[in-house]
Symmetry: C2
Subunit: 190 residues, 2 copies
Amino acid sequence: MELLKQRIRQDGEVFGPDVLKVDRFLNHQLDIALLQEIGKEFARRFSDCGVNKILTIEASGIGIAAITAQYFHCPVLFAKKSQSKNIAGEVFSTKVQSFTHGKLYDVIVSKKFLSPADRVLILDDFLANGAALDGLIDLVQQSGATLTGAGIVIEKAFQPGGDRIRARGVRVESLARIAAMDPNSGVTFL
Amino acid sequence: MELLKQRIRQDGEVFGPDVLKVDRFLNHQLDIALLQEIGKEFARRFSDCGVNKILTIEASGIGIAAITAQYFHCPVLFAKKSQSKNIAGEVFSTKVQSFTHGKLYDVIVSKKFLSPADRVLILDDFLANGAALDGLIDLVQQSGATLTGAGIVIEKAFQPGGDRIRARGVRVESLARIAAMDPNSGVTFL
């Protein structure tokens, strides 16, 4: 998606070999007009899938998922990173290692909101090692829902998550795939 | 907002005297069509304010803020509940006591994204004791931005936050104000 790549080149900041900050437009401040274009592109790519629910994970996936869901005319379900007392009753639960925070999280969704009748599209901002996406796939599989695929805004294709999860047979569509990055030369896309 | 009150009556679940679960449509699963109507109502109420940035707090404010920002044609900034290594540099910081989780959080936004040029509308899903809203107001004031007001989806008006913050001179617009609630008789609106 050329508009997104241009924006990453313009406003992304590279720190070291593997940290890309996109907090000007994607995961702290949100450029809503850009998210609308991202949403339309996901809708185009997954138009043939009968998606009736979008699943993401708090926090930075939520804005992307909410805007995108408008083009699928379906609800969003966001997985939560720890059990709070406002989630009563039964949940599907999995464990996810956070690259950003260096912690192991419990990630949960209420069983009320995922069932074998659902055709689920997973959305997230980043795919790198694939830990969060593994967790979300696990939640879908526990529920018996159909996984139609995963839409990723930015894939660090030099890290193993994308290839590994595609090799499992999951359709992964990434709007910008980064081949390499460096604080001096910037970002190189596949 | 009558559509919202109807939905709370239909799908909200009351636990004890002060816990209202709205996870079917507002803060776990998100009904995007309802969020669009909520966004339009906030845009109507704050149409005269020159809002150029919407500020919310992760996680459950993000979907509301992202959808609503479309009607203001402005970006969203979401405050983060703890410092992660992907937020480098200078931040405005405040402390917030979470009612839901029983914890004291550091809540931060990057100084890059709030300045005296900004006219900020704060949005959040709930207002009860007002701790989160106090924190967001503090961040706006630290930045020198103009606070145009706060838009709240559900105010527990039997708790003191709303009255206290209005008494500080902040314009608070709540789309559903709950006078009382009870597991047997349900929710009574003001």
